[in-house]
């Protein structure tokens, strides 16, 4: 799966039989209320591209987890399933420890609002994927451990290769998040690979992705 973030993206040359697209559809800024910032950049796709709509959540300094913000957040995310061709939803939220209860409540409510047949994925900090993970209680289909941006330049050199065994939680073991500008952990045949590229995907990048031998890049093996 390619992450298509907030840049104009032309993914029409991506092979849709091998690779799906997880595109940033909107951002939510949660304070005392929920502000929505929709996608402002065009996204061009090959026909029959398997699509996952991603919502990024940020919290404002006046973040207040109330029943209203939980309900509003869940319904704002659920609305993503309405977009043409969307087959799954992913939530990207680097929740702090104190925000986990809020996040869990949102996901539980969201799960009831999504149509059956729409899988629910979240991104995960690698540290969430250890033993006795808090993720285990969540009504999600996968958690994608992000093996990138885990520290500054010193950290890149300190961890080589990246340690895939950090992701011991079963919800995390079926997928892996990598970035094109960092080292990768070992990737296994059964894993769904999400690839992040800073900036817009170029035709050269897409040709390279098309040539990669990974299995499971297409999203419909999510369920």
């Amino acid at each position: 799966m390619l992450w298509a973030w907030e840049s104009p993206e032309d993914l029409t040359t991506l092979d849709p039989t091998k690779t799906g697209v997880a595109f940033l559809s909107r951002e939510l800024l949660i304070g005392r209320t929920v502000q929505v910032r929709p996608r402002r950049q065009p996204l061009r796709l090959a026909t029959n591209t398997w699509l996952m709509a991603v919502v990024r959540i940020e919290t404002a300094p006046d973040f207040l987890p109330t029943t209203d913000t939980i309900a509003e957040t869940a319904s704002d995310i659920a609305a993503l399933a309405q977009q043409p061709g969307v087959r799954a939803i992913q939530v990207d939220f680097d929740a702090t420890t104190s925000q986990r209860n809020f996040y869990a409540a949102v996901l539980k409510r969201l799960r009831t609002q999504l149509p059956s047949g729409i899988p629910l994925s979240i991104t995960a900090l690698v540290g969430w994927c250890g033993d006795d993970s808090w993720l285990r209680r969540l009504p999600i289909d996968e958690a994608v451990p992000m093996f990138f941006r885990m520290g500054g330049p010193a950290a890149i050199r300190a961890i080589r290769p990246k340690d895939a065994s950090l992701a011991r939680e079963p919800l995390c073991s079926g997928s892996v998040g990598i970035a094109t500008d960092e080292t990768w952990p070992a990737i296994h045949n059964h894993q769904r690979v999400y690839v992040f590229l800073p900036g817009s995907w170029t035709q050269q990048d897409l040709a390279h992705v098309n040539a990669l031998g990974y299995h499971g890049l297409r999203g419909d093996s999510l369920r």
Partner: protein, 827 residues
């Protein structure tokens, strides 16, 4: 009655402010800002240029060009420049926070003004009124359909009507009913909570038009109604019908909306080209559909251009000349980008230009390299263009090889780009001998270039009052030989630099000081530098993320005031200095306290690994003063009487604390300070000696077609050949030592085989097991092409096999050990 013309304004061309990427995004220190001056941007906009960088953005290089060519910005232009910089850089959160302290928006003013009329037909709009809409077709893009000043103007007009007729006058109520209908088209019409499980989504609502009114209606209301209907069609994306409506009003010279309706014909055409899938060049569809849409896009914009030029020539439209010119700029950017670039450059050099900020945005849009098919290729300034600005900015940016990717691989320009730009710059300089091209030539020059002596002479003639002085002086000193004469000149300017220049500029001069320091102490005084920024985006470098941390010894690290090691210092400590100089550095008061402890720890660890007990002994007081927990461990090591004892006690000392590492860090100190485990396994070490910063290991599975940058940093001048030779020998020995987990495990197992009855052996095995479980792992290499691991799974150095061996040794020979009881599984 004074009503403002309600006008859906175009607003600035909005750029997508980069959203946060996915990923944890830990902060890291940036010592030299690569893309903009950062800090006090107003000072920069007032001509305090510091040291210009090749990677500076268009908007900053425009300012520099202006000042260096003696076209200073007017005060109002300086403010606009600051506002534009903030618009690009400020986060969404910061913008939202600023809104809370700003005056009420047009939207909120409309909601509150509308409330004075009360519900109409049971409807009262509230803050949930949607203003965004999706572009048509299979689209994943939204846009702001109803801009804030449309609401502001509607609120103004309703207030004026209410004052004239009263809020409950039937005509006012009818006007308001119509306006509600207009704004109901702002959104797609899809309710936010759209359906429950198992239910299909509702279809999008059809356009909601204000009702036609009978002929008996007051004329003013009839005229307003005609306008409301056309506007509703505009917001409902029915542009052809909107244009028809606006044309009819435009020819009705009795209507107060006649002039603005004429203008709105062009607006409708332009809006159609940006949001309607049949007219956009970047819509989805088959290739034939996209080609047709691109053709529609160009012809629509051309039509808009014709309309606008006709309006410009029409005296009746004089009151809207500004708006017409703004729209013409928008269209010309897309239809004739090269010509428009020159127009913008000329405007940007003119201190009378009122829309300086918008011109900065427009020029940036032209030059930004995005994969947007609507966007024409960046223009190249003609050789003889009056401004010369475009050519200068192009050439300077083409020198930029600051990595834009996290691993340092992705370079914005190739070596060929740099060579071409350098040749172009030199030609301009030799033709004009102007200061502005001297600046560019100096930025691209190397000490051994044939033209360098000439450039240095010219640079020396630039007076301190010149806005280019700091850039020119820095490069002159950089290009001069690293000798005492150059150093004297550097030391003469440093006080002024320290007093007047920002941190990014100062750090570059300090690096020159560092490179020419004649002694260890003089060099040490330059190694700690305050970062210009703490960032989570290497390619932004301007975000500041406050993080309060402590160093290994508990010294508080405060962003913005605590000194850290830049790459040159870290490289020198880690790779260029022998252990004895490392130890001398740790004992020197020339280093700030937090950095002394880093160096002391690195020296201690290396001393134990390289079996240099005298150095370890000399570092002991520093480490024990830092953390008393070291005391018993280092006492045991220092009191060892045999080589075996020293070996044993050395291993135990090194394994005790997870923060122990044999090198100093470039930039941020260890996140978890002393002894605490890092959840990402950044404990002990993965490699004993980091590769030199400024070169990056290749990532073969993906980036083999991207060349890693090679910018080796100069070794400190005071190091002798004896020093560097000694360092090379030590580094070679250290590099033969593997990761901490592998090293300690293999050492512990060797010790166990030789000394199975030593009472310390179970501790050694147990501690090694603890390190193994919390530090870097050694796995089989992975081949991305075959999707398989390669190598021998029985390799005894693999972490999994070492874990087995440690577990077996403990359980077989030491069943009563507390370590055995603690580790019930081998991994």
């Amino acid at each position: 009655m004074n009503r403002r013309l309600w006008l859906p304004a175009l607003g600035a061309i909005l750029f997508a402010i980069p959203a946060s990427s996915c990923g944890p995004d830990f902060p890291f220190a940036v010592f030299v800002l690569p893309h903009g001056p950062g800090g006090n941007y107003l000072a920069y906009a007032q001509g305090n240029l510091g040291i210009l960088q090749p990677g500076y953005r268009t908007r900053s290089l425009v300012i520099a060009f202006n000042y260096i060519t003696h076209h200073p910005l007017a005060p109002v232009q300086q403010q606009q420049a600051v506002a534009v910089d903030h618009q690009f850089l400020d986060s969404w959160q910061a913008n939202e926070a600023a809104k809370q302290s700003a005056p009420p928006s047009g939207f909120h003013t409309w909601i509150s003004t509308r409330a004075t009329v009360g519900p109409i037909d049971g409807y009262m709009p509230n803050a949930d009124l949607e203003v965004n809409r999706s572009t048509t077709g299979d689209s994943y893009e939204d846009f702001t359909n109803c801009l804030d000043n449309a609401f502001a103007t509607a609120a103004h007009n309703l207030s004026a009507l209410s004052r004239s007729y009263g809020p409950h006058d039937l005509s006012v109520i009818e006007w308001t009913r119509g306006q509600d209908a207009v704004f109901s088209n702002c959104g797609d019409g899809k309710p936010r909570q759209f359906f429950g499980p198992g239910q299909p989504p509702p279809p999008p609502l059809p356009p909601h038009l204000p009702a036609l009114l009978p002929a008996s209606t007051p004329l003013w209301l009839q005229q307003d109604r005609a306008y409301q209907i056309a506007a509703a069609r505009f917001y409902a994306l029915d542009f052809n019908a909107a244009i028809t409506g606006f044309r009819a009003i435009a020819v009705d010279q009795a209507s107060p909306w006649s002039v603005v309706s004429r203008y709105l014909i062009a607006r409708s055409l332009i809006r159609q080209s940006t949001v309607a899938d049949t007219h956009r060049s970047d819509a989805n569809g088959t290739p034939a559909e996209r080609a047709a849409a691109k053709s529609g896009f160009l012809s629509t914009l051309t039509q808009a251009q014709k309309e606008l030029l006709a309006m410009r020539a029409n005296p009746r439209m004089d009151s809207m000349q500004n708006d017409i010119d703004n729209l013409l700029d928008y269209v010309d950017l897309r239809l004739q980008p090269d010509a428009q670039a020159v127009v913008l450059a000329q405007r940007l050099q003119n201190p009378e230009t009122r829309n300086f900020g918008q011109s900065l945005i427009d020029l940036t849009w032209l030059r930004t390299n995005q994969s947007d098919p609507e966007k024409p290729a960046p223009p190249h300034g003609p050789e003889d263009d009056a401004a010369g600005m475009i050519a200068w900015i192009d050439d300077i940016n083409n020198l930029d090889q600051t990595p834009t990717s996290f691993d340092g691989h992705h370079l914005p320009h190739t070596d060929a780009d740099v060579a071409q730009a350098t040749a172009d710059i030199l030609r301009h300089w030799q033709t004009t001998h102007s200061t502005v091209w001297l600046v560019a030539a100096l930025m691209s020059a190397h000490p051994a270039d044939a033209a360098t002596p000439d450039l240095i002479r010219a640079a020396a003639a630039v007076p301190p009052s010149d806005p280019a002085y700091v850039t020119v002086t820095y490069h002159r000193l950089r290009l001069l030989p690293r000798d005492s004469a150059t150093r004297d000149q550097l030391l003469a300017v440093l006080p002024t630099i320290k007093q007047h220049e920002n941190t990014s500029t100062l750090n570059q001069f300090i690096a020159l000081d560092s490179a020419s320091a004649p002694s260890l102490d003089a060099w040490l005084a330059t190694t700690g530098r305050i970062p210009a920024s703490e960032s989570s985006f290497m390619d932004q470098g301007e975000d500041v993320i406050p993080a309060s941390t402590t160093d290994v010894c508990g010294t508080k690290i405060t962003p913005g005031t605590t000194k850290l090691f830049d790459a040159d210092a870290a490289n020198a400590f880690n790779r260029d200095m022998p252990l004895r100089l490392l130890a001398a550095s740790a004992e020197s008061s020339a280093l700030p306290e937090n950095l002394r402890y880093q160096v002391a720890q690195a020296a201690l660890v290396r001393a134990i690994l390289l079996d240099q007990p005298s150095v370890a002994r000399s570092m002991t007081p520093l480490l024990v003063h830092c953390r008393p927990a070291w005391a018993p461990l280092l006492a045991a090591y220092n009191d060892s009487t045999t080589a075996n004892d020293r070996k044993l006690n050395g291993l135990l000392a090194l394994m005790r604390f997870a923060s122990t590492e044999p090198s100093v860090r470039y930039g941020e100190e260890r996140r978890n300070a002393f002894a605490t485990y890092d959840e990402y396994r950044q404990n002990w070490w993965c490699t004993t000696v980091p590769q030199p910063y400024g070169t990056v290991d290749d990532i073969p599975q993906y980036n083999s077609y991207r060349k890693p940058p090679q910018t080796p940093l100069a070794k400190p001048l005071f190091l002798t050949t004896v020093d560097t030779s000694e360092a090379a020998t030590e580094v070679a020995a250290l590099e033969r030592i593997p990761s901490a987990s592998q090293y300690f495990a293999t050492q512990a197992l060797s010790w166990w085989k030789l000394h199975p009855t030593d009472p310390h052996t179970p501790d050694l095995l147990g501690e090694a097991n603890r390190v193994l479980r919390n530090s870097c792992r050694t796995e089989l290499p992975y081949d991305s092409k075959t999707n398989k691991e390669t190598g021998d799974p029985k390799d005894p150095n693999l972490t999994t096999n070492l874990a087995h061996a440690l577990f077996d040794a403990l359980h077989k020979d030491y069943p009563q050990s507390t370590w055995t009881k603690q580790y019930k599984s081998w991994e």
